[in-house]
Amino acid sequence: MATQNTRTLARLMMAPSVVVLLIWMAVPLAMTLYYSFQNYNLLTPMNVSFAGFFNYQYFYTDPAFFQSIWNTLLLVLGVLAITVIGGTAIALLIDQPIFGQGIVRILVISPFFVMPPVAALIWKNMIMHPGYGVFADIAKFFGVQPIDWFAQFPLFSVIIIVAWQWLPFATLILLTALQSLDSEQREAAEMDGANFFNRFIYLTIPHLSRAVTVVILIQTIFLLGIYAEILVTTNGGPGYASTNLTFLIYRTARLGYDVGGGAAGGIIAVVLANIVAIFLMRAVGKNLDK
């Protein structure tokens, strides 16, 4: 399409941003890779030496390692399931013409504007607290023993909080996708004898597939690195029940002052994220090139 002339110019114009992006990505990655092969503990910062694969072995043999990977997957999948299904449901609802539509939509997307630690603290102290949380009040009203969420269901509690934060994002993307559904197609299906349920199955869901793919891909990127919500609520516990990979790295690097071990964990996390990415692109990526 473009002529030789515009192509050269375009490359020239793009060059600075590509270079900055490369440095931005490559330097931290290279440094992490470098430190992962060093014995570098902040308690003894003078004794830096080559460690070989010891850091990897150390991180791998951590008793929390496999549980943290499992927790990471559960966290990602749980939040994805809640946000995609819930987001579709809410998008369908607020797509209907109602009184005060603008305000309702703003309210629905507002959780997205609350910073993660703040949201987690509100959930911890005002909603899920076994003594004076909203859930406890409801339980007491019905005369049931209140649930101590973070002690009894630590990972599930974190999933709920994170899902609450990401629900608006999914809703917003799915709502715009719903609104782009051709009204004549819907009317054609109506004339073809499809009821609301069939129209949803055969028309709306296929139409939403691309938007759902975008939601899944973008959310997965962020959900693999969930950290703040765990830190302010359960601190990874009880035991390692709500420790994900990111939190385990934090534990190793900052609580154990072990920069080398943390870096090795970071590299393992990068490898795992790429494996997840490959699976994801295989599974849902084909929806994107239509």
Partner: protein
Amino acid sequence: MGSITLKNVQKHFGEAKVIPSVDLEIKEGEFVVFVGPSGSGKSTLLRLIAGLEDLTGGTITIDGKDVTEAAPAARGLAMVFQSYALYPHMSVRKNIAFPLKMAKMEQSAIDKKVEAAAKVLNLTDYLERRPSQLSGGQRQRVAIGRAIVREPSAFLFDEPLSNLDAALRGTMRLEISDLHNQLKTTMIYVTHDQIEAMTMADKIVVLNRGNIEQVGSPMELYLTPRNLFVAGFIGSPRMNLITGDYARSKGAVTAGIRPEHLTLSKESGTWKGTVTVAEHLGADTFLHLDVDGIGQMTARASGEFGAHHGDTVYLTPDETKLHRFDDKGLAIRA
């Protein structure tokens, strides 16, 4: 099967009375065309019949059954939309099969019907393709196929050819007429293009601002337009409408003469005019003239007429083909 009666049908959108009141009788097997300028309510009327809009007042009867409150699917009608409204993620086969699948028909019966429809519409080679891989004309045929398999009591077409190029439009016009001759099912066709209306219709319904101006066969509308609106709308190029002394001398407020009923001459005639634009088509010549004492007129000569911009040309009207209208714009019949 396929007679439709509209009785005092009304549609208001808030304050706007899009259709004040329409009465219409559509007989079984008729090809009816709703024609009118944009905003004339022709599409709204079609959507009311389809059940895609709620009536403000009046009743719609199909085959003697009151369907005013019935759901679209329950009316036994099939519709072809302007955008074709094909389901983009389904193959052509699945698109055509969709209404049958919704009717919970046996898979083997569905296959048979889809194959048959595809054969009629020349789509057999394209059954496994997606709509996005088809040309405009093919998509149009898939949309028609999806309508045919339901064996509806009437087909509704909402400006189905307006997204096609001129050549293809001509072909599809023939195909739809052909289909009507084969199926002998009632068809209601909405268009703003009077050529489509004239060539395809058994009966034309001319709509203007939600009111029916005239109902009749194409030739009735051409020969005896009931009022100024129909006279100006049917026929291409448009009828010349003349007011003033000439009209008064004929006992009318407005006199109408079609471009093809003017005889052109370079020597003498009733009126003298100067050519502003000459369109030479080979088979016809259209002359746009500035006529002394009357103003802008259009004349049509069969074959080539050698006149160009600035030439002086004489016109003689065929007064047996003159249309006369009174002060309300209604035709005066002698």
